[in-house]
């Protein structure tokens, strides 16, 4: 029996979150997770991910054993945790736990186990992108923001392997969202909740990529700038009056007005970092410097025919600007310009723009772009160092598009936005699908795609392209051949073999001289390895090649008789 006037929701609809924006965010998170799981089996596997897998194999078992045998685990800390090159604690621990839980329990689940945490973090990033955009500009922006991020071939490529970049972007944006919501909230309990979340995410971010510590001074600067602006300009009626009583000293009022999320980050950040980094439990002082240094380790950087140990200062900026498709870069820049304009309006108090919010967004977008050229961010050839900036720019671009559609044609803003989005986002979608699984090498149209970038001497940027040749290798290698795959870690090779991507009868060789088949990547920084295969096999002619628009990315060389 139903009561008139009362709407009865079905059980399933009660499970769904209330509000269109929240549902959109959840749909994006689920969609991204499904796509990444499906795409993972065809994606590449590079040297950096191999290093993480090697460390994760050691550490995953330790983390799983910790609750069962805590004392034994503590004794094993020194043996298990070393200064891991190129990665920090959280990505390794999460990859290890994922592998310990999933690897071997699911057919083809070895590599997926290592990547499980990455998939979950990508889903989290999609959710945060959508929620942040919804907070700023409603449901249209909520639908757009994740698309602006994940439809860039390079961003999707960075989301697939177990690594630090996507996690850093997700946690960076998560801290900003929690802090922003905490600032806006009038409810004390909600502010505390948001602050706690910001503190936890900040700790996880620092345990992911070291440059995340900058969030703390960044948000402190934001607070001081907003306070200073409040002092310079009279507060408007809508702005919150200071909560401290008159007559209190400026220093005390400064401390009293400190956002609770800053305090939470200061307290919870180190706690989370230490909790996720077991070597700090036993030997923090002696290992701090080597560990911090090791996280900055990166492969050599090749561009314009030259090779360097580290990328030039402008490499991350070029990657952020030129790797995404041209229409996406335009939306990013438009979002940045729109935020700058709103910041000025907010400063003048002329419009509904909020100066604190706009300043926070601008700082969140620009700080990673400033840190990467300074060498604070782990160096890399691709879009990875700038990924946190691209996440914030995606939110800003989505807001700019939604706002423009509303301003241009208020009565049909949604339809107008859809029309423009179809024209703007179809090329990135097409590029993402067409270039997969070589999205890291898919430079944007500004530089003529992968061929134009190669002509200009820009790096190939695609790590792990060799793994895309495994299907052909399995089909055409003669039985019982020895395969040389330089620089890929034993854990990664083992995972590929268990997943059936490397044929079971193929043995692994330690050098080209002892191998019948060699799988090498064309990254110019490692051509010497490829030339060793030429010497060993007495041929420079590959038997199989992975290429993107004629630009070679990886090749298989074979001795006579080893390839059918």
């Amino acid at each position: 029996m139903t009561t008139p006037g009362v709407t009865h929701f079905s059980r399933s609809s009660r499970l769904l979150p209330q509000g269109r924006a929240r549902r959109a965010a959840l749909a994006w998170a689920l969609g991204v997770a499904v796509v990444l799981v499906l795409a993972g089996s065809r994606a590449g596997l590079g040297e950096a991910e191999g290093r993480i897998m090697e460390a994760a194999r050691r550490q995953g078992a330790w983390w799983v054993r910790l609750p069962v045998k805590p004392l034994d685990s503590l004794y094993a800390v020194n043996a298990t945790f070393g200064p891991e090159a190129g990665a920090a604690a959280l990505p390794i621990a999460s990859a290890g736990v994922g592998h310990a839980l999933l690897g071997g329990r699911l057919p083809g689940g070895e590599v997926l186990g290592y990547r499980l945490a990455e998939v979950l973090l990508a889903a989290f990033l999609a959710y945060v992108l959508s929620r942040f955009a919804a907070d700023l500009s409603g449901v249209v922006a909520a639908l757009l923001a994740p698309a602006l991020f994940f439809l860039s071939p390079a961003s999707l490529d960075a989301s697939l392997p177990a690594g630090t970049d996507l996690a850093a972007a997700a946690l960076w944006l998560g801290v900003l969202l929690a802090h922003s919501r905490g600032l806006r909230s009038r409810d004390h309990r909600e502010r505390i909740r948001r602050a706690t979340l910001a503190g936890l995410l900040f700790g996880a971010a620092v345990a992911t990529r070291r440059e995340a510590w900058i969030l703390l001074p960044l948000l402190a600067f934001h607070y001081l700038a907003v306070r200073a602006r409040g002092g310079i300009r009279a507060l408007t009626a809508e702005e919150e009056a200071p909560r401290h009583p008159a007559g209190r000293s400026p220093w005390r009022s400064l401390v009293a007005g400190l956002p609770s999320s800053l305090a939470a980050m200061l307290v919870l950040g180190p706690v989370v970092f230490v909790a996720l980094t077991p070597w700090t439990w036993v030997d923090p002082l002696r290992r701090l410097a080597p560990a911090a240094w090791a996280t900055l380790t990166a492969p050599a950087y090749a561009s314009s025919g030259g090779v360097a140990a580290a990328p030039p200062w402008h490499a991350p900026l070029l990657a952020a600007l030129l790797l995404p498709p041209a229409s996406l870069t335009f939306l990013y820049l438009a979002g940045l310009a729109h935020t700058g304009r709103r910041l000025v309006l907010g400063w003048r108090g002329e419009a509904a723009a909020s100066f604190p919010e706009e300043l926070l967004l601008l700082l969140g977008a620009l700080a990673p772009l400033v840190l990467a050229p300074l060498g604070v961010t782990p160096a890399g050839a691709g879009v990875g160092p700038a990924l946190p900036a691209l996440a914030v720019l995606s939110v800003l671009g989505a807001r700019a598009l939604a706002t423009a559609a509303r301003a241009a044609w208020p009565s049909t803003a949604g339809k107008l936005a859809v029309a423009v989005v179809l024209l703007s986002l179809y090329p990135p979608l097409r590029a993402t699908l067409r270039t997969f699984p070589h999205g890291g090498a898919a430079w944007g149209e500004w530089v003529g795609g992968a061929p134009g970038a190669a002509s200009l001497g820009l790096p190939r940027g695609q790590a792990g392209a060799g793994a895309t040749l495994l299907r052909e290798l399995s089909e055409r290698a003669a039985p019982g051949q020895r395969l040389w795959w330089p620089r890929l870690s034993p854990a990664a090779l083992d995972a590929l073999r268990r997943d059936g991507r490397i044929r079971a009868d193929l043995r692994l060789a330690p050098s080209a001289a002892e191998a019948d088949l060699a799988l090498v990547e064309h990254d110019a920084a490692r051509r010497d390895l490829e030339f060793q295969a030429w010497t060993a096999f007495e041929t420079a002619r590959p038997v199989a090649e992975a290429a993107l628009d004629e630009v070679p990315l990886a090749a298989v060389y074979a001795r006579p008789g080893a390839w059918r």
Binding site: A326, F330, A404, V420, P428, E445, G449, S455, F531, P552
Partner: protein, 365 residues
């Protein structure tokens, strides 16, 4: 028009007037009718025009008052720009495929080289990254993929086939210009789909009398005073040295180089020397050396590379510790051309730091 008549109530008589007799006659009725019609039409027209003007002005005023705000105009501008850029991006994406060679183009180029290839020919790809040629062209055709060719010796090459992709974005023709500058004739350019193939005959091909990497099987090597032992025809193993002296293809300054690779001797072990006996000489001895590998070793001391002929040093190079470079040398040997000589290559460094030197040398007639 009405006729004016005298006012009947006026006291004074009007002054007597003497109107001039007029020749005008009262218009005929058709003329009057036409006049009325014209007047009516004119009135109607002016009324309508005035109405139209008023309406237009009112509409314009309304439209101006309802004009988009500057923010609205900016929004329209942004949306139009985003849509146009999206369309342009799509056009660029689809246009790129047409500028790249297809599988059919590669098969046609292969057929061409199968037919016209002669010993002493080599293919040079332009741009240098277009190394798909290695996989597609016949196995017997050597393929060069270097960024510049002005100073390349191209030992043993008499004719060069420049295979270029002219439609590729930012493609430059400097490779073709380098080759053309060294050519006596060119065989014309053939377009094969998105590829262009041009054959050049080199004016002065480099034909070596002796190329030292080929002489490794008969060479002797020492580290300090300790003799090294042969490990097959392509390698020599020295005591206390983890890496053998070998004939290899190695990466030097970003390019593949067939060469002899060896680690220099340290201050403790003494220099590494490799001696080739009975090397025929001509007018010139040339060669090059560079440190192998991609990663620079800043701070490492330089490596000294020296070439001795019959015990006398004729050439010396210093290979710095920074970014890997390839250095060349050339020695006039006209006075030695009559008989074979002994050539010794000496490699030394205070601290080799695990570096390997890749070197080659050849004598020219």
């Amino acid at each position: 028009m009405t006729e004016r008549r005298p006012d009947p109530g006026a006291d004074e008589a009007p002054p007597e007037s003497h109107p001039e007799p007029t020749l005008e006659r009262t218009p005929t009725w058709p003329r009057r009718a036409a006049q009325v019609a014209v007047d009516a039409a004119w009135k109607d027209l002016t009324d309508t025009g005035r109405h139209l003007l008023d309406t237009g002005r009112w509409k314009l005023r309304g439209a101006w008052s309802r004009r988009p705000s500057p923010a609205g105009l900016a929004a329209w501008g942004f949306l139009i720009a985003a849509a146009l850029l999206g369309a342009a991006t799509l056009l660029l994406q689809t246009g790129l495929a047409a500028r790249l060679p297809t599988a059919l183009d590669w098969r046609a180029a292969t057929a061409l080289l199968e037919r016209d290839y002669r010993p002493g020919d080599a293919v040079v790809v332009s741009p240098a990254w277009a190394e798909r040629a290695r996989a597609e062209l016949p196995a017997r055709v050597p393929v060069f993929a270097l960024p510049r060719y002005a100073d390349e010796p191209l030992v043993g090459v008499r004719r060069v086939w420049v295979l270029s992709l002219p439609g590729v974005p930012f493609a430059r023709d400097r490779i073709a210009r380098d080759i053309a500058a060294r050519a006596s004739t060119d065989g014309g350019t053939q377009r094969i789909g998105a590829m262009a193939v041009t054959r050049y005959d080199l004016a002065q091909p480099t034909r070596a009398i002796a190329w030292l990497p080929d002489w490794l099987a008969s060479a002797r090597a020492k580290v300090g005073d300790r003799l090294c032992a042969h490990d097959g025809p392509r390698a020599i193993v020295c005591p206390g040295t983890p890496v053998p002296i070998a004939r290899e293809v190695r990466e030097v300054a970003g390019a593949p180089r067939p060469c002899l690779s060896a680690q220099p001797g340290s201050a403790a072990s003494g220099p590494v020397s490799i001696t080739f006996t009975g090397v025929p000489f001509g007018l010139e001895l040339r060669g090059a050396a560079g440190v192998v590998g991609a990663i620079p070793s800043p701070g490492a001391p330089p490596i000294r590379f020296a070439v001795q002929v019959d015990g006398s040093e004729v050439a010396g190079l210093e290979l710095p510790g920074g970014a890997p470079v390839r250095r060349t040398f050339a020695v006039r040997t006209a006075a030695m051309a009559e008989e074979p000589h002994t050539v010794t290559v000496v490699l030394s460094s205070p601290d080799p730091a695990g570096r390997t030197v890749c070197f080659d040398a050849w004598t020219l007639p």
